[in-house]
């Protein structure tokens, strides 16, 4: 095969290979150029699939709620909510929640979160002296108890020190997130959605598809430059 035919074949297949990318670049580029006129910054998208694609998820499936008095504590997506209000961030899902006359206590596997009954944070601490992760939270005679490994521990009056306990207790039970608070919590987690211009920009740069998508768009740009040079050269040679 002579070299001119070879170059023409490369030119044709490279051109065909980047067609989709060139279309994507062109359409999104034109739209971005006129983003202000098209008011693309004001168009907010909050479609479930798109938010999930961006990693902006609503309440996760493993979120749990605990009823304490006439209020609900919900734990999920790294947040704690009292009813529909975010009150703290957490390292892990809560294992239980209870309230005493003075305060409200939520525990994760390693941390204890203390709040006023109105949800104001009193203290967050790692419970010392517990040999294992906390797996359950309950109440015994008005004081919080936790299960850590095989041992049940009860807190002192300040809910500061935990000592092994062998009396009676009642564990708090988890339920699904109450429907009444679901939409408010979802809104908190997802924020107000994404401006359409942001999605277009990510499509244009290639970042929409993956963190390294911009490298592919760079490669497409390089191929375009190559095609340009190759095309000019073939045209010049034919003359």
């Amino acid at each position: 095969m002579n070299k001119w035919r070879l170059f023409r074949i490369w030119h044709r297949w490279l051109g065909l290979g980047i067609t989709v990318f060139v279309l994507l670049l062109s359409i999104t580029g034109v739209m971005l150029n006129h983003a202000e006129k098209l008011q693309l910054n004001d168009v907010i998208t909050d479609a479930d699939w798109l938010m999930s694609w961006y990693g902006i998820d609503g309440v996760s499936d493993d979120a749990v709620s605990f009823q304490i008095g006439n209020q609900w504590v919900t734990s999920g997506n790294g947040w704690l909510y009292l009813n529909d209000q975010a009150i703290a961030t957490t390292e892990a899902l809560a294992t239980g929640a209870v309230q005493t006359d003075l305060l409200m206590m939520v525990a994760g596997p390693r941390k204890v979160y203390l709040f006023t009954h109105q949800g104001e944070q009193i203290e967050v601490y790692t419970a010392e002296g517990l040999d294992a992760e906390i797996t359950a939270v309950g109440l015994s005679e008005g004081r919080p108890v936790v299960q850590a490994g095989e041992i049940v521990f009860r807190a002192d009056d300040d809910v500061a020190i935990w000592r092994p306990y062998e009396g009676d207790y009642v564990w708090s039970e988890s339920t699904r997130v109450p429907e009444a608070y679901l939409s408010a919590i979802n809104e908190h987690l997802r924020g107000g959605g994404l401006p359409f211009s942001r999605v277009l920009l990510d499509l244009h740069s290639g970042r929409f598809f993956a963190a390294s998508g911009s490298l592919v768009m760079d490669a497409v740009a390089v191929v375009l430059v190559l095609l340009n040079g190759l095309g000019l050269w073939l045209w010049w040679a034919r003359r």
Binding site: Q121, E123, A160, A211, S212
Partner: protein, 184 residues
């Protein structure tokens, strides 16, 4: 290899790069010393029961100024033996909290140690060449450290976080001592 095959390889390579969009920045926490071990070490034996500094508005106002953010919580736990108070405090470096143990004796820092580090960069602040600088430092009337702390290039935010925590521990210690004097 035919041209068609080469082209297929090219397209496949492009798709593979897309698929490789894996975030490699995640890093587990590094526990350099468990907080309970730090307490045992600084008290050289049994650890006293924790005490609480209630974060009334006066304390919070200065603490917020030092941290340049709102300090959450209504009480701060500490451990005390004579003139020595020990604080386990956390502050965010860039995105993650740095857990630090600070022992204060009679208003000056006796020991500062990074206990748990969660950031991907700046972990050099854990080394004694950096933390030893805090020894003997106290808090000036302007709520600044009494001496200059030499930074570490590439760990600016972690250095800043530790300086804030050192100032905070000294501030809290000052309030605890003032409270003690008022009660005497």
């Amino acid at each position: 290899m035919s041209i068609k095959s080469k082209l297929q390889m090219l397209v496949c390579s492009c798709l593979a790069i897309f698929a490789l969009g894996i975030e490699c920045e995640t890093r587990a926490e590094d526990v350099f010393q468990a907080p309970e071990n730090f307490l045992t070490e600084v008290f050289e034996g049994p650890v006293p029961s924790p005490s609480f500094l209630w974060l009334i508005s006066d304390v919070k106002a200065v603490a917020n100024e030092i941290l340049d953010r709102n300090l959450g919580g209504l009480r701060q736990r500490y451990w005390r033996q004579g003139d020595q108070t020990v604080w386990i405090l956390e502050e965010i470096g860039k995105t993650q909290a740095i857990t630090t143990g600070i022992s204060v004796n009679d208003g000056t820092i006796e020991r500062l140690q990074v206990l748990i580090y969660r950031e991907s960069h700046g972990w050099e602040v854990r080394y004694p060449f950096f933390t030893d600088q805090f020894r003997g430092m106290s808090l000036s009337s302007e709520m600044e450290l009494s001496e200059q702390v030499d930074g570490i290039s590439g760990a600016t935010l972690s250095v800043r976080a530790l300086i804030k925590l050192a100032r905070l521990a000294l501030l809290f210690d000052g309030f605890v001592r003032a409270e003690g004097e008022a009660n005497e």
